[in-house]
């Protein structure tokens, strides 16, 4: 019997679900192994009990809390799909702003219900996660494969810096550019550094980031705490002030 899986989205850009749909080479084989019973972006209808629910997006409002709890209640395994679900991602940028002021700025005299964006784990039990903004398609497949085989999925415990060194890319610090590669969880293949950018930390931090050597690197390159904090305030806001 095929395992029943579903895809769900809350507040986010649906780019992680799109990344799943972008697995064109694998999608047909994948559908031989699992039955996708719910995927609102590309499917009508809804589908009862689930073996695995992949949930994208952050939770902002009471109705979203209820909808997520209902999904949790009918799913054996619930996976946070992507940064917004995993850490609140860029949605958490609003944590440092006055919510009422934001609402007034955008909607003027037409207030609209909005709450602080939170990761799924603030509301329900999350069994495992696929980090990143967006997720890495291959990493999604390996998490799914582990779940189908009944093994706990594992994410790399080392930093993006390792993948960057293995790809023999030049270090951005040598150009005076702050990079979050030394403290960010690997698994993306250092894709942004390959593209000539820096690591912006979208996959969240490794479990034991070593602050002192990182601090030394910053000092050696004449960079300040303010430089690095600014860098953290794109994808890692919830760590500072999130719930």
């Amino acid at each position: 019997m095929k395992r029943r899986i579903g895809f769900f989205d809350f507040t986010g850009c649906e780019g992680c679900q799109l990344t799943v749909l972008n697995l064109e080479d694998t999608l047909l084989d994948l559908l031989d192994l699992v039955e996708i019973v719910e995927f609102r972006e590309v499917m009508s209808g809804s589908g009862g009990e689930l073996d695995i629910a992949f949930v994208e997006g952050s939770i902002c409002r009471p109705d979203e809390v209820e909808r997520l709890q209902a999904i949790r209640a009918r799913s054996k395994t619930l996976v946070a799909l992507g940064a917004c679900a995993d850490t609140a991602g860029v949605n958490a940028l609003s944590h440092f702003r006055d919510l009422q002021q934001l609402q007034r700025d955008v909607y003027g005299d037409h207030p609209t219900p909005a709450g602080r964006p939170r990761p799924l784990s603030a509301v329900v039990q999350v069994d495992c996660r696929v980090p990143g903004c967006p997720i890495d398609g291959q990493e999604f497949l390996s998490v799914l494969k582990a779940l189908l085989m009944g093994k706990p999925p594992e994410l790399p415990a080392y930093a993006v810096c390792v993948e960057c060194k293995l790809a023999e890319l030049p270090c951005t610090f040598d150009q005076g550019i702050v990079c979050l590669g030394p403290v960010t969880r690997a698994g993306c293949g250092a894709i942004c550094l390959l593209g000539g950018d820096r690591c912006r930390g979208c996959r969240g931090m490794i479990d034991n980031p070593r602050a002192q050597p990182y601090d030394r690197i910053l000092v050696e390159h004449g960079l300040s705490e303010a430089d690095i904090l600014r860098e953290f305030r794109t994808f890692n806001m919830s760590g500072e002030k999130g719930q």
Partner: protein, 425 residues
Amino acid sequence: MKIAVQHLARIEGHAHLVVDTAAGELLECRLEIVESPRFFEPLLQGRHYSDVAPIIARICGVCSNSHTLVSLAASEAALGVRISTQTRRLRKLLAFGEILQSHLLQLYFMAVPDYLGVPSIFPLIQRQRELVSRALRLKKLANDICWAVGGRPVHPVTPCLGGFSALPAAAALQDLRRQLVAALPDLEQTVELFAGFEIPAFERPTEYLCLSGEPGYPVFGEAIISSDGICVRVDEYLEVIEEYCVPHSTAKFARASRDSYMVGPLARFRNAGKSLSPMARKVASALGLAANTSNPYLGLIARLVEVVHCAEESIHLIDDILLDGLRSEPLPTPNKGGYGVAAIEAPRGTLFHAYRYDANGCILNADCIIPTAQNLANIEADLRQLVPTRMHLEQDALTRELETLVRAYDPCISCSTHLLKVDFV
């Protein structure tokens, strides 16, 4: 009769469709936009220009390349940065890649199920495996363009202020060219498939708006034009487009010359159909897409015509790029502030970004106008005119027809709720 479709399926983002009729009268007709707002524009305040495009791209996974490209163009306009012909061509190729990917996803994954009477494309894997394989092959080619030029299909990595932080290899572009030529039979089959669909008959003339000012079918453009006679510079957008709030929506609505207007494939086709590629023009005429059509359901067919156009034009664009040879170019580091506006024809229509920067290159304020937000008033006006003509239908059939109309616009709700006008205090 009351129709209330919660979390409308096969569209990007969250919307409810509510229609209420009694004794042959339409009482209520709303497309409720229920996606949580994310306040992207105020959150950009204080951010350095090198962070702006990567943050704003996260508004939307489906059109992250369009947001990135228009964001960079607006920053460049504000900071006085000029770009090279090579950069302009590569950006256009990336824009074509995204239009192809977004349109093919909509055509095959979101629209085909309506016309073949299935809840999604997945049940067709058994019955019509070739159709599904073709959809995946074409979609993969579109994504391969984005991989080669942008470094990643969703939230691109390489486009940056003044150019690209990494260039595609010439061999990768040659390979894309080969694949594009090899995809022509798949496109032909796609046209045949859609030629067999019975598109609902419905006419409602409206105002059609798109960009103009560059030779050819619009992608980038310096001017806004409309079928009601609008013709202004892009930086005068606030003078012709008015956004307003409605109680049932977290997205703002918009109007220009009349109560509503349309942007997107059909609007572009109406205003600039003559500049489509030769193959796309042939497809349009084969599918009976008339230059003066006012049937919004035909947005679907205009989307398919644009797929053919983008594929054909991408081949020529790659030839131009390879003929001149790729060379790495120095990136600018502007050191002044300023105000700039840019617009792009995103898959779903005209997308505007406007930024004001301080002298340190940090954002003072930002404004974005999103294609779907511009279409919302038009979708509702269509629904209001359509429902009374379909009262004879059973509730299920009517619901299907209304959903199909909404999908013909390929609405992108994530985008439309996140970007509204902002005045900073």
